[in-house]
Structure formats: structure tokens, C-alpha cells
Symmetry: C2
Subunit: 432 residues, 2 copies
Amino acid sequence: MEKVIRVGLLGAGTVGSGVIQVLEMNRRQITERVGAQIQLKTVLVRNLAKKRPQLEGYVLTDNIDDIVKDEEIDVVVELMGGLEPAREYMLKAMEHGKSVVTANKDVVAQFGKEMFAMAEKHDVDFMFEASVGGGIPIITPLKQCLTANKITEIMGIVNGTTNYMLTKMTECGSDYDEVLKEAQAKGYAEANPSADVDGLDAARKAAILASLAFNTRVELKDVSVEGITKITPDDIEYARNLGYVVKLLAVGKDSPEHGVDVRVHPVFLPKEHPLAAVNGVFNAIFVRGNAIGEAMFYGQGAGSLPTASAVVADIIDVSRDIVNDTFGRVRCTCYEQKRLCPLEETESSYYVRLLVDDKPGVLGLIATAFGDAGVSLKSVIQTQRNIVDHAEIVAITHAVRHASIQAALQELKGMPVVDEIRNVIRVEKEQV
Amino acid sequence: MEKVIRVGLLGAGTVGSGVIQVLEMNRRQITERVGAQIQLKTVLVRNLAKKRPQLEGYVLTDNIDDIVKDEEIDVVVELMGGLEPAREYMLKAMEHGKSVVTANKDVVAQFGKEMFAMAEKHDVDFMFEASVGGGIPIITPLKQCLTANKITEIMGIVNGTTNYMLTKMTECGSDYDEVLKEAQAKGYAEANPSADVDGLDAARKAAILASLAFNTRVELKDVSVEGITKITPDDIEYARNLGYVVKLLAVGKDSPEHGVDVRVHPVFLPKEHPLAAVNGVFNAIFVRGNAIGEAMFYGQGAGSLPTASAVVADIIDVSRDIVNDTFGRVRCTCYEQKRLCPLEETESSYYVRLLVDDKPGVLGLIATAFGDAGVSLKSVIQTQRNIVDHAEIVAITHAVRHASIQAALQELKGMPVVDEIRNVIRVEKEQV
Ligand SMILES: NC(=O)c1ccc[n+]([C@@H]2O[C@H](COP(=O)([O-])OP(=O)(O)OC[C@H]3O[C@@H](n4cnc5c(N)ncnc54)[C@H](OP(=O)(O)O)[C@@H]3O)[C@@H](O)[C@H]2O)c1
Ligand SMILES: NC(=O)c1ccc[n+]([C@@H]2O[C@H](COP(=O)([O-])OP(=O)(O)OC[C@H]3O[C@@H](n4cnc5c(N)ncnc54)[C@H](OP(=O)(O)O)[C@@H]3O)[C@@H](O)[C@H]2O)c1
């Protein structure tokens, strides 16, 4: 008789319902592929009184012990979100010998170390493919397919809300507030959009990706973060004219000189870069390794069924381990302790847009100020833009230290001809 | 003491040398990641007398028995290429209880069934990630990450040579013979380019991808193939004006009505399609599943180190199985026997380019001929193109059966006003 693997589900919201749907609609395939039946047994809900037609036939409970202490249950799938009680419930499940699958980037980015230690202690699996990039396979590729590589760089469009907004701003020339309203109307952005637009959601994913790519623990607090709220249609137009698109990127770099450098911020990306064509709510993660060269993984970064695709893939992976009586086949990837590069030491090119007095000689003054601060310029242009008595100057710098650009900006701020530093955005260099 | 896993390598050419290099340069990482040392022990070469500085320190042999009968060797890596003796040697290795890793698309596409049966019989792994898409992870994603999905479509740019040629034709307007010479000069195309330009190489990969995606055995002989030799700069220009790019695609579709339909041919691809931006020698595979929606995997489809990245990932995967004393964790994926859709039943839109007499009423005659054959048109345009007394007509059809378009072409051929059917190319429909 076929083995049956029983699942307890914590939370049946957007993703949880998707998981139930995928397990049902692809039941026959999944059974063949695993060599065992995967059966959802019990679902934890907050309010037992609420009508949930999609949960008919399953045991419902509002008591976590009914799942973690159920000896029949092999796998606990956490899809409630948030730090607590999600963290506590997952730890409990592992203590009771159950493998855990989650989509919870908050817990993984902040308490990953604790989770992996607990999994190791109790000989169970802890899987989190859906925590980054929704349905896109990226965690398994990093743990398996790319594992022959030393990875030097990982760059991702990992937040669909902000990518949708930037795409709309690019395509329609609309301004930030307009596209935010539109994104909210379409359900892509929350009423309080801060986690998305301020970059916090992307930062959690950056921490997870960097930990896996560079084999050293990177936590949310280690990621420097800047959101998209200051991006204007003018910046996007300058970018276009200079051959770039503006994207919010999660960036991780690892080099012998600087150590591990992880950040989230808007970037001018050369329009030939593979990530530049990733538009709307789509996500993609670009990886550079010392054997594979460049690779990219593209797909839907959110949504009920796409995210469930990743969660159920993890459930299948765990089930295969159970069928084959093996655990922890892939060891914890953070076997090193690398130096984290402080923000001031990071290097980048920058786009700097200034509002200046429209007088002869200003361009020269500005260029000299950059030079005095040790920042060499790749290009500098001055435009009129219908502003009485004023002009805009847009400078693109060569790669400089964060500290140097800060010094230059300090200098510029003090100059009488400079009326405003309108924006400062990092520029990703062309591929070679 | 750390476990040591010993590898025998068959063939140290482009990819084999890459494997040796990757194992050396990333030795420390790999050992950490596997929890065991991976040691290359013996290399099979054809000519022992040849100088091979990169093989210093390894045992060389020209006798396969020195590898397959060596009890110390756990994994045999086949990188000789071709059908025989590669097939024979891999079977022998498995008979002797060794897991096999290969990049050999020829053997997998033609003798996959035999290989998997042998692996199952002897409780060993048979891995072939590098056989499709070079370094790009696609086999593991199909076997693991996407396994919660019913996959309905897979489309790939899986031949770098032809993609390089089509990209050059698109960017520079050069003609076929010119870009072929250029590709040969750069080492991207062989002296005899047939396997690439006639689509055979892509067809092998199509068979492998379809077998994994649709869970039914598809072999090389089941794939209908058409190459790029008839593509002209004119076709590419018409494509551009109509909003398409021309790509050579490996296409697999699975539907309840038609069954499994696998082919390789040039395609007019809407320029918004994620595959449309894949240029030069890069490869990418696009997958559609009933949970994940669309996903794409992008990277370098060939080359010594990128391909070695995939081969070594497989070696690591096998080694993890050995360390954990498990085998065949992922079962053979071909557990179904689906109907293969005959070419005549396949459905597609088509681009048809005709040379016709330049007289009033011709456009009407042509349109009527299509209609009479049951082919409805989406658009039809007539151009002069500086051809005395002649004009060109370009028609784009709605989706029709292959048999219907053949009937229409037969009809057109017989018409006195039609001087030549210049090209017929499938058109991929826009994404919704
Ligand atoms: N949505 C996506 O596209 C997506 C993509 C990738 C990752 N994720 C991650 O997936 C997780 C779930 O997201 P979601 O979008 O599915 O959220 P959601 O729609 O808000 O669903 C969460 C569910 O968990 C339930 N829940 C919360 N706290 C609970 C508790 N203490 N006890 C019992 N049930 C509880 C909620 O019940 P009530 O209905 O009673 O509040 C709700 O049904 C999050 O970690 C999220 O970051 C989501
Ligand atoms: N090159 C790529 O980018 C790439 C990408 C994906 C997959 N692959 C696949 O990888 C495999 C190897 O390709 P490759 O490009 O590395 O080919 P290659 O450069 O021609 O190397 C093949 C090597 O195998 C040796 N060999 C052939 N037959 C042998 C025999 N009977 N006994 C001992 N040694 C033998 C050859 O030795 P001699 O030097 O004596 O002839 C040569 O060194 C092929 O299956 C290919 O399809 C290649």
C-alpha cells in the first residue's frame, strides 16, 4: 500500500488556500512523483466560527497543539505570516519531530539561524522556497543547482508592488502618488504601503538570498535599505535618455577586498541588462558565479497559486526525504563567517540631479566641486526644463566609495549656486 | 575523518577540462557543501601519449575497465559525447554500481529509457543537467522545483549557435551565409554546421525537456524539426515591422485534446515575450504550469565552465545521496504514456510570404484562396519592394491546423499569379 504523508497547515489565507487548491488539482501527478500520497489533515485557523467552504473535509482547529502534537502529522506548513506566533509554532513543530515548510520571509530573515539549528537538532527539514520570489525557484537553485559555483553577485527584482509602480511610471510617465493609488486599487499595494515602497520587504529577501549565496549569515539588520518614494518622472526620463531603466533592486556582492555587501535601493540599470526587461508584477533574480557566469530566474513573485507552487514543491521535497528516510541532505549553507562591508565602504557609480542657478560657469563650478571631493565624473549635462532662472544639472559619476559621494554632496549643498539636490541614485555598470 | 567520494571522468575535452577546473578552484566550498571530499581519481583518454598538462596528478587510462571496475570509484562522469561508446560505458558503469553524470544529449534523447531502467535496477543515480541549456538549471527545476505543477507548455532557445546567427541577422541585417561564416570564425559554429542550423541539436534537447515536463517518454524521432537555413533578412524585417522577432524554438505542448506535441522550428515571437530578449549565445527555457503560471530560466547554454557548473552540480547531488545513503530519491519522471500529436494535427498561426504578379485584384485572389482552404487571415499586406512587375504579399493567419495550411499552400502554388512561396514561418500568439 502507498505511504501516506500527512500535512498540518497553519493559516488558510491567500497562499494557504492556494496550497489546498494545488494539492487537490494536481493530486494524481503529485502522488506519482513522490511515490506517496500527500494528505492535508488539519488546518489551524484563528476563528473557528468563520465559514470556509474551501476547507470542507479537513479537520479545523484553533489550537496549535492539535497539529504539533498529532503523531500522524509529518509536515507542518506555516502560512500565517508575521513573526509571532509563526516563529513559536514552527519551533514547536520541529521539537515534535515534524519537518517545516514556510513562505515566511520575516521569520527566515530574522530568525533563520534559530530555525536551522532547531531543524538540525531534531533531524527534520526546514524549507522556505516561497519566502523569496514567490513561485520562482531560487532557493533550491542556490542550494543545489548552482552549488558548484563561488557566487560573487546576486541581484533581484523581488518586490512586485514596487516593480509594478516603476513600470507604470516608466510606461505612462505618471508620478509616484498616481501609480501608488492605482496599485492600491488593483490590490497590488496595501493600504499602508510602507513595507513595499520603503524597501523593507525586499530587504528581508535580500538577507535570505545573500545568506544562501555567500554562505554567511546575513540578517535583516545587516541590509542597508532605501525605497522608491523619492523617484520622480523626471528621474525616469533622464534614465531613459541615458540608456537606463529605474528598478528597485536587492543587491548582494561578495568580494575578497570588501566582504559581503547587501543592500536594497533604486538603481539605474543599463537597458540591455537581463533584469531591465522584467516588468509589472514579475520578479527575477540574477546570479553571477565563477563557473556559470550569468544566470537569471524569472516568474511571478506573488499570488495565491504561483506561491503555492513553491510551497508544494517544498512539501514534495520533504516528502521525498521522508519516503527515502533521509533528512538534512542539504546542509546548512552558512558555514562561514564573512566580514560584512559597512555602507561607507561600498562602491558604486551615482546619478546626481541638481537644481542650480542658470548662470554661465555653473557647470564648471559643479564639476570642480565633484573633482575636489575625489569623485570623477563620467558625464554631466545641463538642461533648462522651463524653470525660470534655474537649470538642472545631471551628473553620472564613475565608481566611487559611498563616503566620497557623501562628501561631494556635502560640498555641493554648501554652494550658493546649488539650490537643491533633487535626487541621488546608484548606477549599475554595463555588463562586459 | 571526512568521507571521500571518488570520481572517474570519461573524456577531458572542452567540458571535461572545465569540470577538472571547477573541482579544483571551488574545492573548499564544495567540500563544505557536500560534507565530503570529491576527488577526481582516474581520467579516460583516447590517446595516452598526448601531452595533457591539465591532467597532471590524475591517473590516466585508455581502458574503460580501469574506471568501471575500480571499486574505489563512486561516480562516473561521461563527457566524451556521441552515442557509442558513451552509451555502452555508462551502462557498464551502472552495472558496476556507480552513479553516472553526463552532458550527453544524444544518448539521453535516444536511449534515455534504457539508461533510467539500468539506474533503477542497480540503485544508482543517472543525472544529466548539462544535456540541456549548458549551465542553466532546468532539469532539476523540472524534477523538483516545478513538480507541484501540471506543465502545459515549454519553449526554449536551446541552441546558442542559431540564436547568435539570428541575433546578428536581426541587429545587422546581414544574410544567412554571412552570419554563418562569422559564427564559424568565432568558433560558435562547426565547420559542418548542420546539427545546429538544421535544428537537430535543439530537437534532442526538446525531446529531453518534453519527457520531463509532460511525464511521458519523448524521443528524438518523435520531434518534428525545421532549421533556420531558409530565414532571410526580409523575413526578419517583416517580423520587426509586425512586432515580432525571429527565434529558433524548441516547443513542447501538452493538452487533453491534442496530446503531446513536440517540435523545433523558427518562430515569429511577439517582441514582448520574455524569450524575445534572449540574444546572442544565451539560452533560456520558458515554462508554463497550472500553478506557477509563467517562469523562465536564463543563462549560458554552452562553454567549458558554464557547462561544468551543471555537471559538477550533478556530481554534488549524487555525492549528497551517497553521503546520506539514499538513491533514486527522485523517481523516473516518465510514469505516463501520453498520445503524441501528429504534425498534421498541430495548430499554429503562420506567416506566409509570397512573390506575386503586380496586378490589381491579386490581393483579393490570394485572400480568397486562403479562405477557400479554410484558413482565416489576421492580416495581409502587399508591398512593392523594387521588384519589376512583381509584388510581395505577406499574410498572417489565425491559428489553423498544419493540414489546413498545407492545403492552402498547395492551392496557392497552383495559382498563375503566384510566382513563388518565399517562406512559411509559425507565429507564436501574444501572451494574455
Ligand atoms: N500573498 C503572496 O502572494 C505571498 C507571496 C510570497 C510569500 N507570502 C508569505 O506567505 C505567508 C502568508 O501570506 P498570505 O498572503 O497568505 O497571508 P493572508 O492572506 O493574510 O493569510 C494568513 C492567514 O493566516 C491566518 N492566521 C494568522 N494568524 C493566525 C493565528 N495566530 N492562528 C491561526 N491562523 C492565523 C489568517 O487568519 P484570519 O483570516 O483569521 O486573519 C489568514 O487566514 C506570509 O508569510 C507571506 O509573507 C505571500
Ligand atoms: N561544449 C559545450 O559547450 C557543451 C555544452 C553542453 C553539453 N555538451 C556535451 O558535453 C559532451 C562533451 O562535449 P565537449 O564539448 O567537451 O567535447 P570535446 O571537446 O570534443 O571533448 C570530448 C573528449 O572526449 C574524448 N573522447 C572521445 N571519445 C573517446 C573515447 N572513446 N575514449 C576516450 N576519450 C574519448 C576526446 O578525446 P580526443 O581529444 O582524443 O578526441 C575529447 O577529449 C558532449 O556530449 C556534448 O554534447 C557540451
